[in-house]
Structure formats: structure tokens, C-alpha cells
């Protein structure tokens, strides 16, 4: 019993961090209707500045560094850290969130994910990828209550954060502008009529939220040290708490945060007991928030306030893909010739691009066509990859069959994660899927009793005596493998085109446009969503298998949540509603052709992730139809111009070649039976 209470008190430390993050999330949401996935990443920056000042007196700016002759005191460091947080909040407001205030939910989610990816990448660049230790400036003793010894440090942290949450609450409750913020959440025009600029209220909330969250991460750093991924993703449990607080109540958020912290602490205690199964020791701290989210959504799903979620995910129009045999053939030929002539390094880059294009295509299905936001695609891919490792090594399932089976496993997982989509949509679904992805990553991929640390080798793919493995002896990028990937991609694209042009694709688009009308037209919305998640996870699963084959053995890093978000970023950059967009995404994607080229020419290092993140923010704000969509518009414009002047037809745009722009007039004419 004593131990239980002591662990509960220890859990208050983590709980305090959640209080800071969830209070910040709630403030921003109340003022703008935006769920800020970058809340943890934003809070991390100020905390890093603080930690670095404490460590060696260097004040790290996004560009350049100032040096103090000797490390300043805690108060000065904290002040400087908070000034940084303040400036970050102001910048984020004007450059990132204000432009998308009236944008659809998807653009808002994407923008905040772009910010999250950028800040994490910037933190890696400026502070290094490794954990930075923070010396404790909090009281370290214990308070003895009866026979129980309670840690002063955790209690202090919780107390500080509860006070800060109370200030946020009081701001909303008692100040004039706080009341206007609450009014604006109900009715923005009302607040404007009261004489408030909704914009200024949003700025105040974002800055205040960033400051409070930053303090919590500064405190949290004392417990755990700071690492870029860690605190970026700590936003996920906080998001779970925010859902528990029904996106409204700061006090429910505080209570939920502390309870979650305590629960996680108790779980870590229980999981060391001998009766606790060893396979269930890893990643429990992430499984718990996921379960919490699921239970809450199933219990209260429909009653969650609907602000910012009622509005359908408005996306650029889909141009139905048309299969034009000679264009498709030309595209395959170009890719094939490129694979043959390129040097092994570039060949591997192009091959990876083909695989990433497949992953991006899975986003096109789920988001571009069905209008659902899934942040779990990398987890689906990973599930297939890890199954592949088991199937090919333990059970000797032969090569093409193994891919099919593993992708079906991924599809089943996708449908499981889709269950909450029956009740929720938009940003809430994004929260559930990222929580699911993180739970799968930590509980399965990082779990040594399921996926041994010694590695997860994958059997060599051979068919009819032909070896399709990526390596053989000193050849690290075999042509056979590349051709196999190209063939699989062609099959996947054919699958996509057939589905997109068929009844299923039309049903997807109908659900995307209007679920109520879809039901009144006879569409089973739930089943359609299940099919969509299943299909998209299936495609992601195929990509996951190919990633596995391309490495010969699997590592969890290939399928981390952050990788998934980066690929979402490039998919959105390329254009989330078209196959052409997926191809562009493939070329731009991590380890793809462009990445390889940049790496060969410059020492890009970690800047790639930063550029991707910034590109994502810019795309979401300026050009939601992505690079492929923009190119298509320009090609259409050019074609129109040239036709009018009776000149030669416009040059073919490579990214869109197989998906020729087809005017709405042509979309129903079945020109070919693929």
C-alpha cells in the first residue's frame, strides 16, 4: 500500500507535464477551434533553450548561438526560455495558425503537424538528437506523512502546474477577453460584435498556452531529460486528456492529466511484478492513453462538442484517374530505363521513391477519397513488415504470397483502427489514429519479446528460381529487386485506378462530401469507411513489406510515428487527392530520389525533415491541391492556351502522365476496361 501511494506521488510528475500540455491545448482550442498537434514541440523549444543555458551558458537561437561567459542562474535561464516561448507563440500565430483559421479541419491538422515536424527537426539540428540532461533545481527531499515518504520534487511540479492551470482558468472565467474567448468558441461573430478581435484573442491564447506548456516541459526535463522525439510525442497522451475534458474544461483536463500520470506510474510498478506477462511490459504508457481515448469516444462519442469538426473535411476536387495505356506504358518504361542506367545509390533512391509513392497512395485513398484523417499509416505498414519477418523466417511462406498475407493483416488492423471513425471524424479521428499509431509502435514494434532486439530478418524473395532480393554479395541495390518493386507498384496502381473509378471510389467521394446525404442515397457509411481504411491499410501494408525487403531486416525506426507524419507531409505536398500527387510524394519522400540527390550534392543532414515540415505548412496554407494539382492546373491552362492558338499540344507532364487531366465531362465515360 505504501509503495502504491509513493508511486502515485511519483506519477504526479508526469501528470504535471500533461497538465501543462493539455491546458495549452485547451486554451488554443477554445480560442481558435484548432487542435495544435505541435503543442509539445512548441513547448520543447523554450525548455531546450533553458536546459542549454543551464548546461553551458550558450543561448541557442534557431540560427546562430550567443554565449554567456558562464551559465546564468535558474531564474534568468527560465526567463530567457520563456521569452523564446513567447516569441515562438507569436510567430506561430501569425505565420502558421492565423492563415488557416477558416480553413477546413484537415488543413488545420496538417499545418500543426507541419509545425510539429519542423520544430522537432530544428531541435535535432540545433540541440542534437540525443537526450539533454537537466540538473534539478527543484527540492529533492521527501515529505513523510505517516509511514509514507512522498517525493517533494513531483509534488512541487504538480503544485506549480495546477496553479498555472488555475491562472488559465481564471483568465477564461474572469477577464473580459477570456469571457470573449469563451463566447467566440460558441459564436465568433458574437465576440466580434462585443468589440473583440477574434484574432487578438487567438494570439493571447496561443502565447499563454505556449508559456504554460513550456513551463511544464522545463519541469518535466528535470525528471526525464529532454529529447526531441520524446516531448514532441508527449502531446499524444495530452490529446487523450483533452478529449476526456471534452475539449472544454480546464479542470477536467487537470484532473485527467494527474490521474493519467498516476495510472502510468502505477502500471510501471505493476509491470515489474513477477505475475505480469513479460510480453506486456513495453509501451504500456502509450497503450493506456489509447485505451482511454477509445473508451471515452465509445461512451461519449456523439456528445463531444462539435466545434471545428462539424464542418466536412473540404478538400480539393478529385479528378478521377483515367487509365491511358500508352501513357502508363511510357511511364513504366521511363522508370524501368532509369532503374537500369542509374548508379546503385540513385537506383536505391528511385526504388525507395516507388515504395514511398505506394505509402502516399494509401493516404490518397483514406484522405483524398474518403476524407478521413489517418495518422496511423506507418503503423499499418510496420505491422505488415513485422508479420513478413515472422512469416518468411519462421514459417517459410513463399515470396509473393507472404506480401499478400501480410498486407491483409495490415488491412485487418486498419479496419480495427477504423472502428472509432464510426462515431467521430475530422480532428478527433486524427487524435485517435495518432494515439493508436503510438500505441502500436511502443507496444509492438519496440517490444523485445515480440520483435527481438537481435533483429527481424526477412527471407529472400525468390520466385521461379529468380532472386528478387535487394542485396547479393557487394551489390547493395540489385536491379531484380527494383524491377520487382516497379511491378508491384504497377499492380497497386491498377488496383487503385479500378477502385477509384468504380462504385467504391464514387461511394468514398460521396461519404467525403456528405455522410448524411450518402446514407440517404443508400450508402452504408460505416461499411464504406471500413472498406476505405482496410484498402488504404492494405496498400500501406504492401509498402511496408517492400520496405522490409529493401532492408533485408526490419527496424522499428522505419515505421515510427514521426516517419508516418513525414510521409503524410510529402503526400500532402505532392497532392493528396491524386495518383500523380502520390508519385511526386514518392520522389520527394525520405530516402527517395530527390533526397538521395540532395544528399549527394550537399550535406543535407537533418535539414531534410525541416524542409519537409516547412514545405507542408506552406502547402497547407497556400496551395491545398499540392504540387501535382498545381501542375495540373498549369498544364490545363497551357493546353487551353495552345489549343486556342492552334499550336502543338502541350508537353506531357511526367508526374501526371498516367492520370491525364480529364474534365468532369469525361469522368463517367468508361474509356477503357483497365
Amino acid at each position: 500500500m505504501t509503495t502504491l501511494i509513493e508511486f502515485a506521488a511519483l506519477g504526479l510528475g508526469l501528470g504535471a507535464v500533461y497538465v501543462g500540455l493539455s491546458t495549452g491545448l485547451l486554451l488554443v482550442y477554445r480560442a481558435t477551434g484548432i487542435i495544435n498537434f505541435a503543442q509539445g514541440a512548441m513547448a520543447m523549444w523554450g525548455a531546450y533553450v533553458f536546459a542549454q543555458l543551464q548546461k553551458d551558458g550558450s543561448l541557442v537561437l534557431p540560427v546562430g548561438t550567443l554565449y554567456f561567459p558562464e551559465p546564468p542562474g535558474v531564474a534568468v535561464s527560465l526567463l530567457i526560455g520563456l521569452v523564446n516561448a513567447f516569441l515562438l507563440g507569436v510567430l506561430a500565430h501569425y505565420l502558421v495558425f492565423r492563415p488557416v483559421r477558416r480553413a477546413p479541419a484537415l488543413a488545420q491538422v496538417v499545418v500543426s503537424i507541419g509545425l510539429m515536424v519542423s520544430l522537432q527537426a530544428l531541435a535535432v539540428i540545433r540541440f542534437g538528437p540525443n537526450s539533454v540532461k537537466v540538473d534539478s533545481f527543484l527540492p529533492d527531499g521527501t515529505i513523510t506523512v505517516g509511514s509514507v515518504e512522498l517525493p517533494q520534487r513531483e509534488l512541487t511540479m504538480a503544485a506549480i502546474m495546477v496553479v498555472l492551470a488555475a491562472i488559465a482558468w481564471a483568465y477564461l472565467r474572469f477577464t473580459h477577453s477570456g469571457r470573449a474567448t469563451r463566447a467566440a468558441a460558441e459564436n465568433e461573430r458574437g465576440a466580434v460584435l462585443m468589440g473583440f478581435s477574434a484574432d487578438r484573442l487567438a494570439l493571447i491564447a496561443l502565447v499563454m498556452g505556449t508559456l504554460i506548456s513550456t513551463v511544464s516541459v522545463v519541469l518535466g526535463g528535470v525528471l526525464t531529460g529532454l529529447s526531441p522525439t520524446n516531448y514532441t510525442l508527449l502531446v499524444v497522451p495530452a490529446l487523450a486528456v483533452v478529449l476526456v475534458a471534452r475539449l472544454e474544461s480546464i479542470w477536467l483536463g487537470v484532473a485527467g492529466s494527474l490521474v493519467l500520470g498516476i495510472f502510468q506510474s502505477e502500471l510501471s510498478l505493476l509491470s515489474t511484478r513477477s505475475w505480469w506477462p513479460t510480453w506486456a511490459q513495453s509501451g504500456l504508457d502509450q497503450v493506456l492513453p489509447f485505451l482511454v481515448v477509445m473508451v471515452i469516444l465509445f461512451a461519449f462519442g456523439k456528445r463531444l462538442p462539435a466545434r471545428g469538426t462539424l464542418q466536412a473535411v473540404r478538400l480539393p476536387d478529385v479528378v478521377l484517374p483515367r487509365f491511358v495505356p500508352w501513357k502508363a506504358l511510357a511511364l513504366v518504361l521511363v522508370a524501368g530505363v532509369a532503374l537500369v542506367v542509374l548508379s546503385p545509390t540513385y537506383r536505391f533512391g528511385l526504388t525507395t521513391s516507388l515504395i514511398v509513392a505506394m505509402l502516399a497512395l494509401s493516404y490518397v485513398v483514406i484522405t483524398g477519397y474518403l476524407g478521413q484523417i489517418s495518422l496511423a499509416q506507418s503503423a499499418f505498414a510496420g505491422a505488415a513488415g513485422f508479420t513478413l519477418s515472422k512469416l518468411t523466417t519462421a514459417w517459410n511462406v513463399p515470396f509473393p504470397l507472404a506480401i499478400l498475407v501480410c498486407s491483409l493483416v495490415a488491412a485487418a488492423l486498419g479496419m480495427l483502427v477504423a472502428l472509432p471513425a464510426f462515431r467521430i471524424r475530422g480532428v478527433q479521428l486524427a487524435i485517435v489514429t495518432i494515439a493508436a499509431a503510438l500505441a502500436i509502435e511502443r507496444f509492438v514494434f519496440d517490444n523485445y519479446s515480440l520483435t527481438p532486439a537481435t533483429g527481424n530478418p526477412i527471407g529472400r524473395p525468390t520466385l521461379f528460381g529468380i532472386d528478387f532480393a535487394v542485396r547479393s554479395g557487394r551489390d547493395l541495390s540489385r536491379l531484380g529487386f527494383s524491377f520487382m518493386v516497379l511491378a508491384v507498384l504497377v499492380l497497386v496502381v491498377l488496383l487503385f485506378v479500378r477502385v477509384a473509378r468504380g462504385d467504391t471510389g464514387r461511394a468514398f467521394l460521396a461519404v467525403r462530401a456528405n455522410e448524411r446525404a450518402a446514407a440517404s442515397a443508400g450508402i452504408d457509411v460505416r461499411r464504406t469507411k471500413l472498406i476505405g481504411f482496410g484498402l488504404s491499410a492494405f496498400i500501406a501494408g504492401i509498402a511496408g513489406c517492400l520496405i522490409g525487403y529493401s532492408q533485408g531486416q526490419l527496424s522499428a525506426e522505419s515505421f515510427s510515428v514521426v516517419v508516418g507524419l513525414t510521409i503524410l507531409a510529402v503526400a500532402y505536398l505532392g497532392g493528396i487527392t491524386s495518383f500523380g500527387g502520390a508519385l511526386v510524394a514518392g520522389l520527394l519522400g525520405p530516402l527517395g530520389l530527390v533526397y538521395t540527390a540532395l544528399h549527394q550534392w550537399f550535406d543535407l543532414g537533418d535539414a531534410y525533415a525541416l524542409i519537409t515540415g516547412l514545405g507542408l505548412i506552406l502547402t497547407a496554407i497556400l496551395n491545398p491541391s499540392g504540387i501535382a494539382g498545381e501542375t495540373r492546373h498549369q498544364v490545363e491552362w497551357l493546353t487551353g492556351k495552345l489549343r486556342r492558338t492552334r499550336s502543338l499540344p502541350a508537353p506531357r507532364e511526367p508526374a501526371d502522365a498516367a492520370v491525364a487531366p480529364s474534365a468532369p465531362a469525361e469522368t463517367r465515360r468508361m474509356t477503357t476496361g483497365v
Binding site: G502, D503, A507, A519, S520, I523, D524
Partner: protein, 256 residues
Amino acid sequence: MSEHPAGLRTEQLTVRYGGVVANSDVSLTVEPGQVVGLIGPNGAGKTTFVDAVTGFTGSEGHVWLNGRRIDGLAPHRRRQIGLTRTWQSGELFGNLTVAENILVAARPGGVAALGRDVFGRRRSRNDQVVERALTAVGLEGVGRALARDLTLGQQKLVGVARALAGTCELLLLDEPAAGLDSHESLEFAGRVRAIAEQGPGILLIDHDMSLVLGVCDVVYVLEFGKLIFTGPPDAARTDPAVVAAYLGVPMESVDA
């Protein structure tokens, strides 16, 4: 003869929103080929009734379609067996073409459809389905336009066409004529009759008195969620309860 003959029959349909009773014991019948009007002042619960019958809001009481009890079925199931509806606000899929809007209803997807999409041969009956539905509402040739590019009046007609596609045993029209001018409205009345002659029963809800009273075989009048009148249109014009409840002014002055 079966107790529940062909057509639509509701029995004591009641809808509660919290403490508010939006529909109270509404029982009505629409036979195949019949055009039945449902009128009533704003807030009388007409749209609520349509939502309850089609399954978009929870209700007590029973609903039969062609002798089959359908309360408890999900909205899309009711649509698939032929209980179709339109919406006041159109509710088209704005990002799809008119033809695709209609095809959604004719072939709503599903697992079997996925199999056909992937492995099956292409079918070419699409154009016929679309043209038949569009002809029924007098919108031939707009199939290739994007739904959101049409006028509101046209969008509502496309809504009717969408409701006619696939199986349509009974059609509930929720204010289909709002947004049409008086000439178009007259034309629309003719089409409603023509549709009914093809077989399906029609429940018509509208504010346009001359449309409803001119085209319907039977009229039901709803006030505060309760039926206050059932009978032929002519009787409705003169029924004192209807006149008093509906507008507080004699019907003739509305018609004029």
C-alpha cells in the same frame, strides 16, 4: 388482405428531442401511386417526421413499407429497399457530377461492389440509369455538370432524380419546390404526378399551398407535432381547424 398493405404506413410515430415532443402519435398511409401531402406551419414537425420515417432521427412507434416493418433499420437499409427521400437543403455531393450523384444511389458500393470494381468487367449501363432519372425531373443533359454549379432549384431536382434512381417504392419530398418560380413549380407538379403514375407513392411536404393542394390525393395537416386533419385537399381548404391553425387567415387569401 394483409393488415399492412403495400405502400408506406406509420403507426403512432413519436419523436422526442429531450423534453420537447416534436412528433406525437403521427399515423398516416401512402399507397403506391398516390400523392399525399403533409403540410403545417413552420416548426410543426414535418421534417422531423421525414427524418423519423427514413431513420435519421430516433422515434417510437412503427413504420411499415410494403408490409415489412422497417423501424429499427438503418437509414441506408431503408433507402436500399426503396424508401427514398430528398432534403430541404438539397444535400447533393457537390464535388461529384450530377450523373455521379445519381449513380451513387443506383449503385451504393459495398464489399460486393469492391470485388466487382477490382476483378469484374466494366459495365456500360450507367448512362441509361442517369438519363432516365434526369428525364423524370426534366433535367436532361446536365449529367456532366458539377452538382455544386447548378442553381438551388436545379440541385433540388437532382435530389429528386437521385431519390428515384435504384429502387424507389416510396418517395418523401421535403420542400422540393422551394426555390422554384411559379411556372417551374407548376411544371414540377406535373412531374410529381407522372412519377406517381410510374408506381411509387409520394409524400410531398411543401409550403407552396397551390402545389400541395393541387397535386395531392390526400392531405395531412400537422400542428405542434400532431395531426389535426386528414382528408381530400378541397376539404382542407375549408376545414376551420386547419384554417385557424395553419395561418390564422382564410385559405383563399393564400391561394389568391
